[in-house]
Amino acid sequence: MNSTVTARVLVDGTASGPVLALDEPLSFWGGVDPNTGTIIDIHHPQHGLSIAGQVLVMSHGRGSSGASSVLSEAIRLGNAPVAIVLESSDPLIALGSVVAAELYSKSIPVVVVDDLEILRRASVLSIKGARVEATGSRQRSARESPLK
């Protein structure tokens, strides 16, 4: 399966990587350890997985307002997703990437698409500006099934 959708660009950039599609919104603060990239929110169905190096696909953020600094710290340490694809704009998440650009000249693309369903089923996503290309399709792996 190959398909391309046009996104709204919050933070511009180019990246490509395997898809980690979250089943529920995730709070970065208290939900992700920036030192490892691991999801530490025990209430999250994908608790224990790592977001590092993935194209993180999620509807929107959640919970604490501390998302920006956790994301910028994860970017600084190289434990961030390579890109984030959202369904609705999440300014706190996008700001984390913008601040990392300001402080460390490192950022990740953050884009918004109207409908995540096609992208969720892709195995690889490539983002270039407003263009999001989905490649491959996959069964939901055991890794992504709830741990609880």
């Binding site: 208290g30 030192n35 025990i42 919970g63 307002s65 501390g66 920006s68 710290e73 704009s89 996008a94």
Partner: protein, 417 residues
């Protein structure tokens, strides 16, 4: 949408007012773009969440702004930090120098060292209709819901950018048209006895947070609630969900009637909260463990003066069991307003914690068994943050358990479940 800047905004962006306002305005205008804001608006106050160390980047941003001469342009309060400056001996971590650097950077920029997650418990809090830029999810929900002030869900970094410029994006909850309720949560079917229990409110907040997504709920069926009960609803809904504003019909200032808060949203869905929903949420707030009780933590968000006094009254001269570490978090301003209360609590074995909170930084002794709390927010975050097992209980149950040295349930509290 193109962002229209005022002359002063443009001057700040160009660096005419200095390097720090320019950097803050650069981040703020990008943020306004994320929100599709057509312009910025003035704010009269700010509350900063960025003073808790989440990593080197928190310090790097604050020091960059400070070193470029940043000074806040509006009265600005500070959220909890990573240290308890009044009880420094409690800190068991190894990051004190960085924590102090971060706190100092924000103080240097003119922020008030309030160190509380409950700035609405300070004397000069904002009022109905005030435009403010607050961070800290529970404070945001409380400001919008209970005070009728107007803030978006700001967070660390953008909070200080608003404070250094006195501006915020004219979008979201700052505007009338975005403050209408879009979903109705009915608790009318729940028994009055349950709704009279304090412990009902954090659980209700958890139900709301996990139910409404990004919608604005109107809650019907709560005849009256104290500020402390509303605080518990707000904190739980904001940490388990994305809630920045609720309308408690007949209770909160923008919600005299359901039709007022719905406006033209006449097709808003109604969701009925059942006794089973409340029981399920309460049970999700506890993790499973066979271990015995070792620790109790109250005061997330920071206890009010009323709550502190109630704790002393509930203990009624009884000491905490020697096997239990018993903590209560509060703000330094609240503590100062209650002379002698800290000594009275200490005599009974209760450790007061100020300036920070027991789930965000290592101030508690190691939790050898289960930790118990009356806070849904603490129950929600502590397992991930601290790696501990948690039992959620009512305030009465927590106090009784602390005295007994084991988990004590009060069947009257949860009788309806």
């Amino acid at each position: 949408m193109t962002l229209q800047l005022s002359d002063r905004d443009a001057a700040m962006l160009a660096g005419d007012l200095g390097e720090a306002p320019a950097m803050a305005m650069r981040l703020l205008t990008q943020y306004a773009g994320f929100m599709d804001a057509p312009r910025l608006l003035d704010v009269s106050a700010a509350h900063i969440d960025g003073c808790l160390v989440t990593g080197q980047s928190s310090i790097d941003l604050a020091e960059a702004l400070r070193d470029q001469g940043g000074r806040v342009m509006v009265p600005t309060t500070l959220n909890v930090s990573s240290l308890d400056l009044l009880h420094p001996e409690l800190y068991r971590g190894d990051d004190e120098p960085r924590a102090r650097r971060l706190m100092q950077a924000y103080e240097d920029m003119g922020c008030r060292p309030t160190w509380t997650c409950a700035p609405y418990q300070l004397a000069d809090r904002p009022g109905l209709g005030d435009q403010i830029a607050w961070a800290e999810s529970n404070a945001i929900a409380f400001a919008n819901t209970v005070l009728g002030a107007r803030t978006n869900r700001y967070g660390d970094f953008i909070d200080i950018c608003c404070a250094l410029t006195g501006r915020a994006p004219a979008a979201g909850l700052h505007l009338d048209e975005n403050r209408r309720a879009t979903v109705v949560i009915s608790v009318e079917e729940l028994p009055a006895s349950l709704k009279s229990e304090d412990a009902f409110y954090p659980v209700l907040g958890f139900v709301i947070g996990t139910t409404v997504g990004t919608q604005i709920p109107a809650i019907v069926g709560i005849p009256a609630a104290t500020e402390d009960q509303l605080k518990a609803v707000c904190a739980a809904a904001a940490s388990s969900g994305t809630v920045g504003l609720m309308h408690v019909v007949g209770v909160t200032p923008e919600a005299p009637t359901l039709s007022t808060v719905l406006g033209s949203e006449t097709s808003a869905e109604t969701r009925i909260v059942t006794v089973a929903d409340v029981a399920h949420a309460r049970d999700r707030l506890s993790t499973r463990s066979e271990a015995g009780l070792s620790t109790i933590s109250l005061g997330t968000p920071h206890y009010s003066a009323d709550e502190l006094r109630r704790l002393l009254e509930q203990l009624d001269g009884r000491s905490v069991h020697p096997s239990i570490d018993f903590y209560v978090n509060t703000g330094r301003d609240v503590l100062v307003s209650q002379p002698g209360i800290e000594a009275d609590l200490a005599e009974l074995g209760v450790q007061v914690v100020t300036d920070t909170c027991t789930y965000v930084t290592p101030v508690m002794k190691p939790v050898s068994g289960v930790a118990m709390t009356d806070s849904a927010k603490w129950a929600y975050y502590a397992p991930g943050n601290l790696g501990v097992d948690v039992v959620f209980g009512s305030f009465d149950e927590c106090v009784a358990s602390g005295v007994a040295g084991r988990i004590v349930r009060n069947p009257d509290v949860w009788g309806a479940l």
